[in-house]
């Protein structure tokens, strides 16, 4: 095969391109200025405009348009609750109405019962979820890119995820007695598989082009995880975190119901003691708190995280 090399520069890179270009004439300078102007014009015309639905509205109005359907739904729920109570299906001692529960809620907040309990519970939730996060990310990272580990432990992970966390408690109590550790043990086992699965799903969904780009740029081993795989799996991983939180919160409530530690009041322990006292108002007031915490953490923490990621990537509505 003949190699025709007349246009290449035998002198090497230092000589620059072919002889026909290095002349630097006025015409060339002018065309260069024109090219820069064309480029700037194209940039200005082609740039995507940051305009979405509602982008031009004032902040208050946007907040209101997001809020009122929620308020309406709350009102509807309360009305249905009141209707059942008013119908007289059960005695008011067993099934109190929203007004009575609301009064009890205010009283329990005022006398410090609920704040103390909520604080203890949230500390457990935070600690347990953090542990689950660390373990889940570690397990997920190992399994995401390793075929052998994946086929070995993949179905186990799914099994763990679907296993009702309450089934762990008998063993947890045998292992750790009725202690803080027993609760954490179950919480972590409940949440970590979801976190790990989220990371694995995220890693599976990384566009091959991004992985290849990472390799081209020289990201290998740990650097590939740190700079390519982990950030690239974030959108799906955020979903995994959300699910992990849901599992963690459920496990925690189950745990606090079963493992009641005397000197440490918690949301679960209030439920347990008030049930034995047949105090339905306090019971339901506490349930309202559980519901609200679940919604707030999901929306304010994980929902916000998810939206921030999607916005950053230019994927979501922002």
């Amino acid at each position: 095969m003949p190699v025709i090399a007349e246009s290449t520069t035998p002198g090497g890179r230092a000589d620059g391109g072919p002889a026909t270009v290095g002349r630097g004439s006025i015409g060339e300078e002018r065309s260069r200025v024109a090219a820069e102007a064309e480029l700037a014009g194209l940039d200005a015309l082609d740039r995507p405009r940051p305009a979405g639905p509602g982008a031009g509205q004032p902040r208050v109005r946007r907040a209101w348009s997001a809020l009122w359907p929620k308020l309406a739904a709350c009102g509807l729920g309360l009305a249905a609750w009141q209707a059942v109570v008013s119908a007289g299906w059960k005695s008011r001692y067993v099934l109190p109405g929203p007004a009575a529960v609301g009064r009890e809620l205010v009283a329990m907040v005022a006398d410090g019962t609920l704040p103390r309990a909520v604080a203890n519970t949230l500390v457990r939730a935070g600690l347990g979820f953090s542990l689950a996060l660390v373990l889940g990310v570690a397990a997920g990272s190992l399994m995401a890119r390793n075929r052998v580990l994946r086929s070995a432990f993949g179905s186990l992970l799914t099994g763990l995820q679907t296993m009702p966390s309450i089934a762990w408690f008998p063993l947890a109590i045998l292992l750790f007695q009725l202690s803080e550790k027993a609760i954490l043990f179950v919480l972590v086992l409940g949440a970590a598989p979801a976190v790990a699965n989220g990371l694995i799903t995220g890693a599976d969904q990384i566009p091959p082009l991004l992985l290849r780009t990472g390799q081209v740029l020289g990201a290998r081993g740990f650097a590939e995880y740190r700079h390519v795989i982990l950030p690239a799996s974030l959108p799906a991983f955020a979903g995994g975190l959300k699910q992990g939180w849901a599992f963690a919160w459920r496990s925690l409530m189950a745990g606090e119901l079963i493992v009641v530690i005397a000197e440490k009041p918690s949301i679960g322990s209030i439920l347990q003691t008030r049930r034995s006292l047949a105090d339905a108002e306090a019971l339901m007031a506490t349930m309202v708190v559980i519901l609200v915490i679940g919604i707030v953490v999901d929306g304010a923490v994980f929902g916000r995280l998810e939206r921030a990621i999607l916005k950053r990537w230019g994927l979501g509505r922002g």
Binding site: M1, P2, V3, I4, A5, E6, S7, T8, T9, P10, G11, G12, R13, A14, D15, G16, G17, P18, T20, V21, G22, E28, S31, R32, A35, E36, E38, L39, A40, L42, D43, D46, R47, P48, P50, L209, L210, R212, T213, Q215, V216, L217, G218, A219, A223, H227, V228, P231, A232, L234, I309, R312, W313, G314, L315
Partner: protein
């Protein structure tokens, strides 16, 4: 821009004044799969790219253009044959493949970081590189906030950040509109000249090849073999619509069509 080669392989350095080729492929074959389902993507390809050359590779679908670049850049290993690269190869794709979680500037900085540039120097260097592709002041923008042409220029800046000795480009402008493509041809030509780049530019667009290359290599399809090499001596600056470029494009197209017709028999 000399940079210590990370995966430089011992090449048979000639003793004369002729410079060592930047890239050299000797009888490189790449087969995907095994047995009955084996597909030969490249079959005995010999290719030499001189330092500072702008080589365009054209071919119809399935000629193994992308495989060729994968081998060149060292991402893939040839089934047989030898690959020798004097230095490092940067690779740029059809889509910008910018990391969507990083800003334009951070994308460039990551390439610097992975190359081992100290933290203090990165931001300044990245800003310089963005300036060379006329994206000054846009370091803080995310890829989705930029147009296709701007994204490709960020990708170009990132490729420069690798300080690779050879820039391999896989249809980098194929997804852009004709107007933007024209302007980016000018840009790429300018940068090639100013930075003394060695470019291997793969495209299915014959006019683009005639517009940009010092030399055009035509690949056959299935398996990919070198069908022809054409030296391009059209003086620069060139215009894609100039008669010289059109005429050459016509010649290359005729070669490609003949090549495609050969495949009409296979079903």
């Amino acid at each position: 821009m000399p940079f210590p080669a990370l995966d430089a392989q011992p090449t048979s350095l000639p003793c004369g004044p002729a410079p060592a080729p930047a890239v050299r492929l000797d009888a490189v074959t790449k087969v995907y799969g095994r047995g009955d389902r084996a597909v030969t993507a490249l079959d005995g390809v010999d290719l030499e790219v001189a330092p500072g050359e702008f080589l365009c590779v054209v071919g119809a679908s399935g000629c193994g253009k992308s495989t060729l670049l994968g081998l060149l850049s060292g991402l893939d290993e040839p089934t047989s044959g030898r690959r020798a690269v004097n230095g490092t190869v940067g690779l740029m794709f059809q889509e910008s493949a910018l990391f969507p979680w990083l800003t334009a500037g951070a994308n460039v900085e990551l390439a610097l970081r992975l190359r081992g540039v100290p933290r203090r120097q990165r931001a300044g260097l990245a800003a310089d590189l963005l300036r060379t592709v006329h994206l000054e002041g846009l370091a803080g923008k995310r890829p989705h906030e930029l147009s296709g042409g701007m994204r490709q220029r960020v990708a170009l800046a990132r490729a420069f950040a690798q300080d690779a000795d050879v820039l391999a480009m896989d249809e980098p402008f194929a997804a852009l509109d004709a107007m933007t493509r024209d302007v980016l041809h000018d840009e790429l030509e300018r940068l090639w000249r100013e930075r003394n780049l060695t470019v291997v530019f793969v495209t299915h667009n014959v006019r683009e090849a005639a517009r940009l290359g010092n030399r055009i290599v035509v690949l056959t399809s299935r398996p990919g073999r070198v069908a022809a090499e054409i030296a391009v001596d059209i003086p620069r600056p060139r215009r894609i619509e100039s008669p010289d470029v059109s005429e050459l494009a016509g010649t290359v197209t005729a070669l490609l069509r003949e090549e495609v017709r050969r495949h009409a028999g296979y079903r």
